[in-house]
């Protein structure tokens, strides 16, 4: 999304998402406990951004998992207005991670009941956590700016970042200034900068202040948050696509009051959901989901934006992580929440758990959008609108473990016969979602015990 151009790195918001494992913890209620483990990086070149919007007030929190030398880090983001010192802050990684985990596509697990007894569902839930860290910047502004038509509107040090706000009158001057200040601007970026200049946008630059970073003791870069008032409900992605080495992923976590957010200049669709897939995928859900996302993008010619989650933050079912407390949501920009304490969603100790708050809900609605983009298929910046749609949706995939007891009654016979049809259906569903080879899926199912008797 953002042009994080610096030295060699950062093909724009090059933030990778890692899937972190969450320990299973048993639950009594209907949505069970977590089992899924996904430790690998899920999507390469993925950036993650939280946007909290209320009226025209917009708080954008940008996170990256930049792992290189902090000296090399630089971030260039077009912003619609000048922002003051108190409109910029640094947010804890954990807060963004928490929202990410909470809204991530999830694996739900059920065990078939004994067909000879009354049905009773035991459930599990797997979750996928995306982990990210923020990207960081480098040096500051110079006198030469004026001669180049660049105006340094403000300079701040916020957390471990040195931040510069620029306005400019001409793109070449700005490109020169950025280059001279140590930002490595990809070829062709000047044109895009020029477009933003004419649209009246300012530029938000961040580099890492090494002393501040040393003081804080943090080994990673924290997400930066910028808040401003603007009618433009958009995210600039164009700088990031200039000379990018291939498509990039972005996960946009929207917090609004009214309802679901969608893109207005690209089609937003729901990711395939509520599909039963073979149980062997339990330990490898991250791989399943990435393969599924890849296949979906390919099928749609990389033209669409995917909805992965849309839900009232007041409750969840099943919860993929502890509910995000109000104070964390406020720190992400959802300042319209009346009570900024940890209610109504204060987590209990003991790991992820089921929360089913009254369906009346809260006044925060979360939307998770996932887009894979490049300059060819996404030439325009993403424009959004908030809708009045409060229907809940989640990317949810279901494992059903067959009953393994004796079940000698006649119903047990019927049950066993039904299994082979079900296994075929699950294999076909997985093949269809991921494009994986059907024979291979069936072989792995058989190895995992999912084989008709």
């Amino acid at each position: 999304m953002f042009s994080t151009t610096f030295r060699r790195t950062l093909a724009a918001g090059a933030l990778a998402l890692a899937a972190a494992m969450v320990q299973a913890s048993p639950l009594e209620a209907f949505c069970g406990f977590y089992v899924a483990k996904a430790d690998a990086k899920l999507f390469n070149k993925a950036s993650k951004v939280v946007v909290a919007r209320h009226g025209e007030r917009t708080a954008v929190t940008m996170a990256s998992d930049y792992q290189g030398d902090p000296k090399e880090f630089g971030l260039v983001i077009p912003v619609p207005t000048v922002v003051t010192r108190d409109q910029i802050k640094v947010v804890d990684n954990a807060t963004v991670d928490h929202l990410d985990a909470y809204t991530a596509p999830r694996l739900v697990e059920y065990r078939d009941p004994d067909p000879c007894r009354r049905p009773e569902v035991a459930a599990f839930d797997g979750r996928l956590t995306m982990r990210m860290q923020a990207a960081g910047p480098a040096p500051a502004a110079r006198e030469r700016a004026k001669a180049l038509g660049v105006k340094i509107e403000a300079e701040y040090t916020v957390g471990e970042y040195d931040i510069v706000l620029l306005s400019a009158t001409q793109s070449d001057g700005l490109a020169t200034w950025l280059t001279e200040s140590g930002y490595k601007i990809p070829e062709g970026a000047a044109t895009v900068l020029g477009s933003y200049i004419k649209q009246g946008m300012r530029f938000f630059l961040a580099k890492v202040n090494l002393q501040e970073q040393a003081k804080s003791g943090a080994t990673y870069l924290r997400p930066i948050q910028v808040t401003y008032e603007t009618p433009k409900f958009m995210l600039p992605i164009r700088l990031g696509t200039v000379n990018a080495g291939g498509p990039q992923d972005m996960i946009v976590l929207m917090l609004t009051e009214k309802g679901r957010v969608e893109t207005t200049n690209y089609r937003t669709v729901r990711i395939p959901s509520n599909v039963e897939i073979p149980t062997y995928t339990k330990t490898d859900f991250g791989k399943v989901y990435t393969a599924m996302f890849d296949a979906q993008v390919k099928k749609d010619d990389m033209r669409l934006v995917y909805l992965e989650y849309a839900w009232d933050m007041g409750w969840c079912d099943p919860c993929a992580a502890d509910p995000v407390p109000n104070d964390k949501l406020v720190s992400l920009g959802a300042t319209w929440i009346k009570t900024a304490d940890a209610t109504p969603s204060s987590p209990q100790p003991g790991g992820p758990q089921l929360r089913r708050l009254p369906p009346g809900g809260s006044n925060v609605f979360a939307t998770r959008l996932h887009v894979r983009y490049d300059a060819k298929n996404f030439p325009e910046d993403l424009a959004f609108q908030e809708t009045a749609d409060r229907q809940n949706f989640q990317g949810r995939y279901i494992l059903r473990h067959p009953f393994t007891g004796d079940a000698t009654c006649p119903a047990g016979e019927d049950y066993r016969r039904s299994l082979s049809v079900r296994f075929d259906r699950e294999a076909a569903a997985l093949a269809n979602l991921t494009g994986w080879d059907m024979a291979d899926i069936k072989r792995r199912m058989a190895e995992g015990g999912q084989k008709a008797p």
């Binding site: 477009s195 649209q199 033209r303 669409l304 424009a383």
Partner: protein, 278 residues
Amino acid sequence: MRTNPSLPRFYRPGGDPRLYQIATLSVLLAYGLAALSFDQAPAHVALLLSTAMAVEWFGRLIEGRPFDPLSPLITALSLSILLRASAPMYLAVGALLAIASKFLIRVNGKHVFNPANFAIAVLLVCSDCAWVSPGQWGATTAAAFAFASMAGLVLGRARRADTAAAFLLVWAAILLGRAVWLGDPLAIPLKQMQSGAMLLFAFFMITDPRTTPDRRVARLLYAALVACLAAWIQFVLWRPEALIYALFVASPLVPMLDRVMPVADPGRRFQWTRPVLD
């Protein structure tokens, strides 16, 4: 086609362009529901259809005219394609507003607002109730071509291709001009011109013969004005529903344009069954 004057007009072969319009809108709606997963339940479509029909029937009853299902059908189909609501009640209100506006807001016997446009613009004021999804069609060349082909049939019959062409030309010029000024790649205006929502508007909403000026020159002016207004709303006020608002705001100008630029023979006003003017 003066085959059998005793038949209702719309049954005469080739007689009424609205039949083509209904067929086209039905195809678009079916495609949207089946292939593009529009957020519109079939039950909601039924609700829109039945409400629109009921209000039309009542309005005609009061006026003492025979019931004609074609016009409310077009309005209900348009609303099904465009309008989304947080509760079915708002869809019913939308259909009611649309048809009622046709009976209640008239100047010189001609209704002022395109019924679907009126209902959507009014409902959007309540942002908790309704929205439109400009992105729902995506933007592909194939879809744009299909839209244009189907629209050609309808507009050819209603003789309102001039309005669509004028709007599209001015809109394209604005998008292209903006891109050139910003130094943007051509891919951006090209993509914007393939927007399904915009094409639907150009071919099926702004071209409504009953709510466009009678004289061709006035229609061309009017279409250009709507395009300029829409550009201002979209690129300055940054509202995604720019086209809807622009037409809504410009509609009251039509009676004025009709007065300033009247048709030579007032008896030759547009009628659906005689769609030949100018």
